[in-house]
Symmetry: C2
Subunit: 650 residues, 2 copies
């Protein structure tokens, strides 16, 4: 960065535009502007490979608008050198000093509608406005040439800032004046043409949910269609990938190996996980859960107090800091939370129960990490810890958390079995696991078909073949543990002295429970259970995107339907607000519809909508693939909107 | 858990109630039921310390409703032993076998309104309904005795499940019948009275945002009003806490020390942080950011490749796994992301730029962690990494990310300075810091008042006293670094060979940038800058709760206004949907309004609303304290709603 430039530019775009209005597309600009009086406006226009020769004109209800400059021609108050200066300043600011900028300066008090030019084909623009008392800047993106031939529609992004703070108080006070003054001091820069279309127009296609912009599949960071041998080499293994979810998640670009048992979660998976966390938050907060966040670095002395520093053995990942102090990376947080609650010295029985939970990374040094996200060394877990004033209350809390877990799995459409389980290293008196029955599961379960007894085999005498409750025969199955609950009693509260003042005014030990959900494991387990051999399937609520919209192939007979697909995209996000950010446009129009449909099927969008031949009927009909019911239907726009308005999004 | 019971109970409450309806309070139950035909309903009622003697009656438009049983008396189809059996089963199910349950069984096809009884004072209830073809269960909470004396209003929680999956297929098929059949086989359990009010009625006061339930301050896990000496002992230090945000956050129960430089984030802080992350997501996704999630365990070989394994020295927290393989805990992720992008072998220039970011915990072994969340060893950071196809494109991306940062800080109302900065251990060619000017800041900055040059002192010759741009005098200030941006060029992409296919079909190295925001640090820095010596102040968008509602003191002259406060609570959450989950009721009515107002002032709710004497006027007037403007106004209900409808919530 040239030192002569850097100090004056940063602030010129530093600030805020009222958040609501940033959602607007360029076509909505007049609406935005209508609410404030525009005083002045400078628009910088860059035309790759050609010079703007002809003045344009503004169409729309723009009374009082006065076009001062276009294409370098002087049409108003400002002299050419001044505008040249602004153009150069902006070029320098954008670090693209050798591209010619054309400047349009407009003064007026009303509205801007559309700029028409005979020659502009593609441009990027930057615009500074004085609206009311403060200045705002906009940067607009790719323009398209409509059928009419000359009409600019900025249709891909709209970004805005306001000059108000940052380094430059004077810019805030009088941007326009300051800019012009400073421009005069800049040496004129040489200009030359430059093809920008390689990068500038391709920005910002992947946007925020709810911002009304289109999400383009071609822009996703997501390696697809890897062959099985490529996947194997990713994992650095020569053996088989015995687990479907692992293979599919690697092949479809949902995860990528970082080190043994550790994975990068790629954008689709992050979206699914964030949805899962929202469902978990809802269920936990419904039963009174309060969310906390405890560090991963867990001091050794806490673990020595419960003797788990030794008993957890090599599963604990241990380290020392620069002062030699020992820590482990928390695989679970009974010690930490109990010490935290114990530090609250004035706790009353009236405040209990506390249901405290977090969703954080956990660490376990698995001897043999495997099956992708099903058994990793670093994973996300929801862990809840409850504190009650009596065993009875604690057991009621235990029931409620179990119910919340059942409710969660039911909302996800996962048929879990709750089985009696071993308390393992956590300890306590009662424990249950929530198991998702599937062949790849590492837990062996028994269920009694007649009396509904169910248990993890490790809790039973291995020679037992009949049900301890009704003596009937037991059926064996395998499962993936996705949740685990423990009634702990005072095991931890007695060690850390986690007390409350009871109804008689005396200190009393809190009765505890702890409850885990494997967050990343639930994602993988759901994919394991729901997917086919080649196609990922998600619980509907967790699908990263609900809708994939496929326009026709470029150059095909149906190409005219592309515009209809674009309109349908807008209609969906306008008419079905919960689908904002959930509709992906498969803009890889160099591929046939069939090829893209195949990809969409593999990625498991709940709804795939194709604009093909029948979209050219009157009224237009769209082909809708409903992945979860297996139906394919042809629907009008209204039919599509009605169908999609039923979709639940978390 | 008694083995004879556990196998039949879990499924009886396992499942889902259509999500939307769980938002309803008990008073809305009729509305829920109206949409389905109720076939049968069993209500279990438990009365602590007393037996229900008298039959109750159902009020409301309950045509066709038939009360079969109340207080153990036979009023309908079912014989006493059957109902006793259900009661016992439910007692056993709740693990509270020695508490008497009374059972009401109702058959009908219409609506339920309110149950009236002469004797019930407090109860907990559980209810199984057959609605349409499937069974649903509800569990209701604390009942209150209204002024009328005998009216039950379940006003604290409403929780529901549907019998459809889980262990028990037969329960799903015919719950009611199955339950009754099985009840007969249970031995009658001894029953005795038991005082439940200590725990059962006090549940579920802290509920999910958006679920229409009241948030009660008394239930928050949040130690308050710690004296400075208590705070000091928390930190295990004898010295001064030199930093206001650290002291306030400890005193107000926002954070709690876990180990040096590591903090538990308590519920208020977690809420504020989640809001901050949402704002960050919006800003990053507006410029095309895609969210990923990379492990904390970072293999040593990556860091050796860039030579940072050695150059980062003791700032890296290092560990070995059970196989002796070396890792560090990632303080930043240039190595990991570059290796990830390098693994995508078919990247085209058409796909670029990629703007990949994550919000995760980072680790840095600070020699002397201090100032609470301002300089910790484990903290949350947003780190973005960008990949472009040319230096020009990368520099445009750099500008855009800087703009997004400016926009973020402006939305938070934090006046940051963007200064030129040293590239440090990250490297690269250009770097800027976003500094929040404050005395406690550890960075020394210079700014030039005349030309807006600004820089971190460490980038300048220490003898320099004049501005390198305009030669004017420089002003010195201190700042907290809240953001840092780097234009990296090909420093990392050349090491890991992160290439793309350029427009000429040849492989070319990606141009990179990296960009950090200190998430937990921004929270603490904002509190540092905005708070007074005794009172926490938040950026409006990040306040954990927007509104605190204070009803009159119990037993005071204004006590009658308590009901109005309750109604106002409901009106706010109904009329201003974005405030669902944002309104906290300070139900500690044993305290005076003055005391509670003082607490509210310390915690910094943007709006504190008091129902006192003037709430008894006609129309009622509420006292509204607007923390951010310092105004105190008396408003009618409509006035309050209008004021609050302006509040922005993220």
């Amino acid at each position: 960065m040239a030192p002569g430039v850097s100090h004056m530019c940063p602030a010129s775009r530093a600030s805020i535009f009222p958040h609501r209005h940033t959602r607007a597309l360029w076509p909505c600009l007049p609406t935005v502007f209508r609410s404030w009086a525009i005083k002045e406006m400078i628009i910088f226009v860059q035309c790759p490979g050609e010079v703007v020769e002809a003045p344009g004109s503004w169409r729309g209800p723009a009374e009082g608008l006065r076009l001062l400059k276009v294409g370098g021609k002087h049409l108003g108050d400002l002299s050419f050198p001044e505008l040249r200066g602004i153009s150069n300043l902006f070029s320098a600011y954008c670090r693209r000093a050798f591209v010619p900028w054309d400047v349009l300066m407009i003064r007026g008090t009303h509205q801007v509608w559309q700029y028409k030019s005979r020659t502009l084909k593609e441009f990027i623009s930057f615009c500074i406005c004085k609206i009311g008392g403060c200045h705002r800047s906009f940067i607009g993106g790719r323009s398209v040439l409509t059928a009419a031939g000359c009409q600019i529609t900025v249709n891909t992004y709209f970004y805005s800032t306001r000059f108000s703070s940052g380094t430059s108080a004077s810019l805030c006070q009088g941007v326009m004046k300051g800019l012009l003054t400073r421009c005069r001091a800049l040496p004129a820069l040489a200009t030359c043409s430059h093809q920008l279309s390689q990068y500038a127009p391709q920005r910002f296609h992947h946007c925020a949910p709810g911002r009304g912009k289109r999400l383009m599949l071609s822009r996703m960071f997501q390696p697809q269609k890897l062959r099985e041998d490529q996947v194997l080499s990713l994992e650095g293994r020569s053996g088989d990938l015995t687990c479907k979810s692992q293979r599919l998640m690697l092949q479809m670009g949902l995860i990528h190996p970082a080190s043994p048992g550790c994975y990068h979660l790629l954008p689709y998976t992050v979206r699914a996980m964030e949805k899962l966390v929202r469902v978990i938050d809802q269920e936990m907060q419904t039963i009174g859960g309060q969310k906390v966040n405890m560090p991963s670095l867990s001091p050794a002395e806490l673990w020595r107090a419960t003797k788990r520093w030794d008993s957890m053995g090599r599963e604990l990942l241990r380290l020392r800091d620069r002062h030699g102090k020992e820590y482990c990376l928390g695989p679970t947080h009974e010690e930490a939370i109990t010490a935290l609650v114990a530090s609250q010295k004035t706790l009353s029985y009236k405040q209990l129960p506390f249901l405290l939970y977090q969703v954080t990374r956990k660490f376990r040094d698995e001897p043999r990490p495997r099956f992708g996200l099903l058994r990793g060394r670093e994973f996300y877990m929801k862990d809840m810890y409850t504190f009650d004033s009596s065993p009875e209350a604690a057991q009621l809390t235990y029931s409620l958390v179990c119910d919340a877990y059942s409710s969660l799995f039911n909302r996800l459409g996962l048929r879990c079995i709750k089985v009696q389980a071993d308390v393992g290293s956590i300890g306590g008196m009662v424990s249950h696991e929530f198991q998702l029955p599937v062949d790849v599961g590492e837990d062996r379960l028994v269920v009694c078909p007649s009396c509904h007894f169910s248990a993890n085999m490790e809790t039973l005498d291995s020679s037992r073949t009949n049900c301890p409750a009704c003596q009937g025969p037991l059926t064996e199955t395998k499962g993936i543990e996705v949740g685990h609950t423990f009634y702990l009693g005072t095991k931890y509260s007695s060690i850390f002295n986690a007390q409350f003042i009871n109804v008689h005014g005396k200190p009393s030990l809190a009765e505890m429970g702890c409850y885990g959900l494997g967050v990343t494991r639930i994602l993988a387990a759901a994919i394991e259970v729901l997917s086919t051999e080649d196609c990922v399937r998600w619980p509907g609520l967790l699908a990263p995107y609900q809708v994939c919209l496929i326009p026709p192939k470029k150059g095909s007979k149906e190409e005219a339907a592309a515009e209809l697909a674009g309109h349908l995209y807008n209609h969906i996000t306008e008419a079905v607000p919960q689908l904002q950010g959930e509709v992906l446009l498969d803009d890889r129009t160099h591929l046939t519809i069939g090829n893209r449909l195949k990809d969409a099927n593999k990625l498991g969008y709940p709804f795939v909508i194709i604009a093909a031949k029948r979209a050219l009927d009157d009224p237009a009909h769209f082909e809708v693939w409903c992945q979860n019911t297996g139906e394919v239907v042809f629907l009008t726009r209204e039919g599509v909107l009605e169908l999609l308005s039923q979709v639940q999004v978390v």
